[in-house]
Homo-oligomer: 144 residues x 4
């Protein structure tokens, strides 16, 4: 039998709060999604003013980061034409993306969820996702 | 120019909290989704133990309640075979549902969002959605 | 070579106006779609206050009426369980519907387009679609 | 509660007229779509002779311009292989496009809708969309 660990609702909510706090500092409202280790949605917040078109993109970033077990922006280089991953964006019905802003949430080396952020520039999105991931890595939110 | 009012992120989060509190009392973990007046997702929480298959169903219930401007369960009777709404569930790419658990959030008579709840029985889902809607109706959460 | 006749943009716009005038009389804002004889969209108007969820339904009603060459509500009876058309709503990716409110636009016996209306009750939708179809039948709008 | 402003049906119809007048001058029939601030369709016209394949493209251009809050052609440069937006066209189920011809409609700095135009060259499409946006910016159509 496999034993799994995955992010819980309280932890996911705390990661959203941490990411949203960073977005507020930056003055860029964001869509923030957290998925569990199976890629299923656990928490979501659209901050006031975040783009509606980026809701689905935030979900895709979190889904991809959990599923690929790496940050979405780190997948991009191997997907350009001529590289071995070219065309991967066409798979999974639009849920796979290499746009920056998706980052796994890890317990040691194990991916237990992911955060996806979208509405700013991809650089801004990545910074906010990293703030969420950093918070999760430090001290285990919602649990101690 | 049309002037609209729609639920904001703080209000949506407070409605999720209220609905989750009711679900906890009932001992039934739930997926809880809040959309704005245009049907776009604003907030989501999957309580620990809620079914992953019901994530998308909660989203559909909220989308439908905002779009149809009525509780999803009140649409159902006219959609059975022989009734004028038969077949409507096939439209909108699986985002339209008459399963109980979707309820509009109103400011007076105006729909400014909706809540969708799914993972329990449809009766349980409706009760939790109603708890969220009642909370929103009373006192305007997040704004006092 | 087949010679076809199909509704033009001016005629379609005039049918929308006629249907919208009827909807205004009824006090029920509507989504109104006109397709050509091939089922492709020619004109659309969402009156202020019409439901966003009904945009796609209005399109489906017009598409179905043009394609089936009959009013959508007249298709419904043969699609209930046990009847020969049962299940047809599952075809065509959600573009086929038997909800009342879709009516062909005819030149004599030939279907040259269709109107689809959605946002009120299906009865109200049908009345508004009929107003559009009656206008088209009488005097040929936008042409004399 | 968030307060929003969005384009109304009369304004949308006037923008379609203005864009269509420009297309007529150019001798290039067009599909012209107007969406509201939430990306939902408000008005559409297919001018006689416009390509049926471009109907859906015009809708996508308007949806994208409203959602991304910028002209579709201005998104394109960052989406080529190697750039940070590469692959974004695969998201949103074919409703996201960087083809020129989609432009936001703004009230000051706030996006209250968008126009999408398709059937000519992308350059021609953009010119016609710009004519619609310019008309909207000047004098506020349908409201004086």
């Amino acid at each position: 039998m496999r034993k799994l660990q995955t992010i819980d609702a309280a932890e996911a909510g705390a990661v959203v709060d941490a990411a949203a706090a960073r977005a507020t500092e930056m003055g860029v409202p964001q869509n923030i999604a957290i998925v569990d280790e199976a890629g299923h949605l656990v928490a979501f917040r659209r901050m006031d003013g975040a783009k509606f078109i980026s809701i689905e993109i935030a979900l895709a970033k979190a889904f991809t980061a959990a599923g690929a077990r790496k940050a979405t922006r780190d997948i991009a280089p191997v997907t350009i034409p001529g590289e071995p991953g070219f065309g991967i964006q066409n798979l999974l019905g639009g849920r796979f993306t290499t746009l920056a802003g998706g980052i796994p949430l890890k317990l040691g080396d194990v991916v237990v969820g992911a955060i996806g952020v979208s509405s700013g520039s991809t650089q801004e999105d990545h910074v906010v996702a990293q703030a969420g991931a950093d918070f999760f890595a430090s001290g285990r939110p919602g649990q101690q």
